[in-house]
């Protein structure tokens, strides 16, 4: 295992150039690439074929391994992200060490990006193959390592996605820790009243799920809790959870609400986006799970200033417990599902819409709260300025979405929720006029286009044009919208008494913190990045961590639930396998070269390196479970003692000289 010198004798390299149907062959002259490769030193055979990844292609490679004694394989095809595992398997089945494979990406890096210049794309493909062959000469056989798995899972986030994922894993018989930052399960869905396109009551379908999660024998629910530290890898994560005190004994509290009645502190209610107020001891909803009050330590008079304790005096169940302390729990889990959800976009920076300045300009989620019987208006849609029902309502779509100044992506839910709310307004007051200003209506889901039609039939007017500005008429307090009806081609002005900004979903404020703790990167839009956008949409980039719901990208409820079940199924794989194989990515430290200078130790982003004291010397030592194979240590080691097994200096240098030569 310590021998990192490649066997340069008896080299027999096989090169396999893939057409990828027409994907590669339409641009790159695959025959020329294969002909060229066949003349490279050490190459025994070079072939091209329609689909190297199909049965016939793989068979071609294994036959060569067995019959011609090929002992290094170079596949010139797509990105290793797509098929490296496929071909490693081919090698393994043919009896060759799977790490004696090198891939040249002549699809993404040649044919796709240089479609307009086939000649040079072919030359580049030849260069890449030349480099891959040069590297292949120096490949060394490596072994994967089997590690025992901790058979439990952590689910972060108690919204609909987190609940679904937790239930699926627990129903398979494995222990789940469901961590929720707030005092109750429910998440964003818990804030909505009716959901599209069926218009059913969100609480009616969500509450039973919340209850089954809370009562599930295999689910340990941790509310008021958040992840603060994580280490380890697939199969064996070690996490630390900080559990903030509730100051109310969940078991004793009967949720009678007397405490909140008497509590003297009044603060804006975040559930209602500040449209109502709550007390320092509060419950997020009458359907909350666990159904127990909670004291907000930031605002409680006793906890902040040592006075009051009214709640304690009035509580007949004696449930108030100011002695509760913050706890830090250390858990071991085999897989982690991240379902931290999203925040609604804050439209304040779009100054042309005057949100925050004009009372009657509200966001879609604020309107949602008004439609909730338990919301700030008891379910009635009212103008905030007058408290009266609006007669003319405008919805402005794509506020902060599909907008290069803010978020370029489409938020996927705003068209449908605006249509839903337009129908609710029409239901509540059929006389009212409702306009939806849109750029495109995206009604892509099952039953969505039908829903759109229903809204048109109800008399909602759809105007294709982005509203440029909102101004309040100082006399009438009506909101004057400027827009172009682009289908008519005329610039217009019209007055409304309520304007709803259809804001989209943005990554939750704590996404960055979670991404750093778990070491899972974010994509350019700020959401957590999936391992592959098409083939591994449920996996985070780090093995053993899975994504569910809007943490990955804006989603509506059906999509969030579907992805949650998908993530749960993925997370169950290591748990049910019991063992996982760790890639030989950790570096090899050549002890006879290491002088123990310690440069690598401080540098390792995963804390996987430490100096080990020997009799008369120190040497660096790597923890293979913690190591993620980033290669930082090997690049930084000033004495060349740390070597990345899959990117040895010889491999890289030979690639460079073959490219230069």
């Amino acid at each position: 295992m310590n021998d990192v010198r490649a066997d340069l004798k008896n080299l027999k390299i096989g090169v396999y150039v893939c057409h990828c149907g027409k994907n590669i062959a339409d641009v790159v002259d695959v025959k020329r690439v294969a002909d060229f490769a066949s003349k490279l030193p050490g190459v025994e055979v070079a072939r091209e074929y329609l689909h190297m990844c199909d049965d016939v292609g793989q068979e071609m490679i294994s036959k060569d391994i067995m019959e011609l004694g090929i002992n290094r394989v170079v596949v010139a095809a797509c990105s290793p992200k797509v098929h490296e595992l496929t071909f490693r398997d081919t090698l393994r089945k043919a009896g060759l060490n799977p790490y004696l494979l090198e891939m040249a990406n002549i699809r993404e890096q040649c044919s796709w990006v240089h479609r307009s210049d086939p000649d040079r794309a072919t030359e580049k493909a030849i260069d890449l193959v030349k480099m891959a062959v040069a590297k292949a000469r120096w490949l060394i056989p490596l072994e994967t390592k089997a590690v025992e798995v901790t058979r439990s899972a952590l689910v972060i986030g108690g919204g609909i996605a987190g609940i679904q994922a937790a239930l699926d894993v627990a129903d398979n018989g494995y222990q789940v820790y469901l961590v929720e930052k707030g005092p109750s399960l429910g998440g964003r869905m818990g804030q909505w009243s009716k959901v599209f396109p069926t218009m059913d009551c969100a609480a009616c379908i969500l509450t039973p799920k919340m209850v089954s999660a809370a009562q599930h024998p295999k689910i340990k629910l941790l509310t008021n809790s958040e992840l603060i530290e994580a280490s380890g890898s697939l199969g064996n994560f070690k996490v630390k959870i900080r559990k903030r005190p509730r100051y109310v004994d969940e078991e004793k509290c009967t949720a009678c609400g007397l405490c909140a009645q008497k509590c003297p502190v009044r603060i804006p209610n975040e559930v209602d986006f500040g449209m109502s107020s709550r007390k320092a001891i509060y419950i997020t909803s009458p359907n909350a799970v666990p159904l127990a009050y909670s004291i907000d330590g930031e605002n409680c008079l006793y906890l902040k200033r040592g006075i009051c304790r009214v709640c304690e005096r009035v509580c007949e169940a004696k449930a108030i417990d100011f002695d509760q302390k913050e706890e830090v729990l250390e858990l071991r889990v085999g897989s982690i599902i991240v379902a931290i959800g999203y925040d609604p976009f804050d439209p304040t920076p779009l100054e042309e819409y005057g949100f925050g300045r004009y009372k009657d300009v509200v966001t879609g989620p604020m309107l949602e709260r008004m439609t909730d019987p338990m919301g700030p208006t008891g379910g009635a849609i009212l103008r905030p300025s007058t408290g009266k029902p609006p007669r003319k309502v405008a919805f402005i779509q794509c506020v902060g979405s599909r907008d290069a100044r803010f978020n370029l992506y489409c938020s996927r839910v705003c068209c449908m929720y605006a249509i839903k709310d337009s129908l609710i307004i029409k239901e509540q007051n059929p006389e009212s006029d409702v306009y939806i200003f849109y750029m495109d209506i995206r009604a892509f889901g099952k039953g969505y286009e039908e829903f759109y039609l229903r809204s048109q039939e109800a008399g909602v007017k759809f105007i294709r044009g982005k509203v440029s500005s909102i101004r309040e008429d100082p006399r009438t307090h009506e909101l004057v919208l400027r827009y172009e009806d682009t289908l008519l081609g005329t610039a217009l002005e019209d007055s409304f008494d309520l304007v709803v900004l259809s804001v989209g979903q943005v990554p939750r404020a704590d996404t960055d913190a979670i991404s750093k703790i778990l070491g899972i990167p974010r994509s350019a839009d700020g959401f957590l990045m999936e391992a592959h956008p098409k083939l591994r949409p449920n996996d985070a980039v780090v093995d053993g961590i899975y994504l569910a719901g809007s943490a990955q990208y804006p989603k509506d409820i059906p999509d969030a639930v579907a992805q949650a079940s998908g993530a749960a199924a993925r997370a169950l794989i290591p748990l049910s396998m019991g063992q996982v194989y760790v890639e030989p990515i950790s570096p090899l430290i050549e002890e006879d070269r290491c002088g123990g200078c310690g440069v690598c130790v401080k540098l390792c982003p995963y804390g996987a390196l430490k100096l080990e004291e020997r009799e008369d010397k120190r040497v660096a030592k790597v923890d293979e479970v913690l190591c993620k194979g980033c290669g930082t240590c090997s690049a930084a080691c000033p004495s060349g003692a740390v070597r990345s097994r899959m990117f040895t200096e010889e491999q890289i240098l030979s690639m460079i000289s073959s490219a230069a030569g």
Binding site: D592, R593, G595, C597, K602, L603, A636, P638, S639, E649
Partner: protein, 325 residues
């Protein structure tokens, strides 16, 4: 030592001759060496002429220790001649191994070098004379050897069998080399005679973290004798330098300048050290640093080539500076 004496040559190129002194420094061991060798060629110590050397049969010298860099055509010719005559060619000292201090000339052009040497105000050269390639002196045509475009290590002109780095090499290394040769117990060809590890292995100092928040130049402080110099912000080359010198400079509270060259497995000493420094520089609190903070920190590195490539520029991937024509 019953058998024939070894034919020994000590050749030299652009050298300060400190390497010669190392041999003399063998002290009590010297008689043993001298009794087992026959000095075939050693311009510093023995009166032998070029034509004597030319007259020898090819391969008649058993061992040639060559010190000094290859700077001009004469050096190159001498190296090639000795190579032909010698069975074993050893690059002796850092100039021969990597180009050494004379290698820093690769930062200048031929003209600017002459300008510096013959044209600075401190030079007594009222007529502003500069060496000519060729000149007639009376009836003789005198030629100054032509300077090469770049300073090269010995391996730049001939094949080298072994290297003994150091400025100068340690007497212990020389002893080891002689022992090995005399007993015919030779390491694989191409090896460096010396420990494979870096200097930290020999360094007695205590190291804590490795994270530099401020760069301190050696003359700006009196370093703590106990603690790792890098931890104190002094850019010690130890981590990227071969051990074998017994950390002499370090023990004198002086940073390692890297004279032993890179340890085994490292091609480019300066680049490796730069890589390490870049990795640990400002590591602590890096996320809070502005562009300006980073720039200020980097400005602490004065004369980076002189700092990281004092001995190894000609054998590095940089090799020499290029000028726009």
């Amino acid at each position: 030592m019953g058998r024939n004496r070894l034919n020994l040559a000590i050749g030299l190129g652009a050298t300060c001759s400190g390497c010669d002194i190392t041999i003399v420094d063998l002290a009590e061991y010297l008689p043993k060496v001298l009794s087992s060798v026959n000095i075939a060629f050693w311009p510093t110590a023995a009166d032998l002429k070029l034509k004597d050397l030319e007259a020898m049969a090819n391969g008649s010298i058993d061992l040639c220790l060559y010190h000094g860099a290859i700077v001009n055509e004469e050096n190159a010719e001498m190296a090639r001649l000795l190579r032909r005559k010698s069975k074993l060619m050893v690059a002796f000292g850092s100039c021969a191994c990597f180009g050494g201090v004379p290698g820093l000339a690769n930062l200048a052009t031929k003209d600017s070098l002459l300008e510096t040497v013959y044209g600075t105000p401190s030079t007594d050269n009222p007529k502003g004379l500069k060496p000519q390639g060729e000149a007639l002196v009376g009836e003789y045509r005198m030629a100054v050897p032509k300077r090469l475009d770049a300073v090269l290590p010995l391996s730049g002109v001939v094949e080298v069998d072994y290297s003994i780095p150091g400025c100068p090499p340690q007497t212990s290394q020389v002893k080891d080399a002689f022992e090995a040769i005399l007993s015919s117990d030779l390491p694989p060809r191409g090896s460096v005679i010396g420990p494979a590890k870096n200097l930290c292995d020999e360094c007695p100092r205590k190291r804590e973290g490795k994270s530099i928040s401020k760069i301190v130049r050696a003359h700006e402080t009196i370093a703590d004798q106990e603690r790792c110099l890098l931890d104190q912000g002094i850019l010690c080359m130890g981590p990227a330098t071969r051990a074998g010198c017994d950390a002499k400079c370090i023990k004198a509270n002086m940073r390692c300048e890297g004279c032993m060259g890179p340890p085994d497995g490292v091609g480019d000493q300066g680049a490796k050290m730069l890589g390490a420094i870049a990795s640990i520089l400002g590591l602590e609190g890096e996320d809070k640093m502005s562009e300006e903070d980073v720039a200020r920190l980097m400005d602490g590195i004065v004369d980076p080539v002189g700092l990281f490539y004092l001995f190894s520029l000609p054998s590095s991937i940089l090799r020499r500076r290029l000028w726009e024509v």
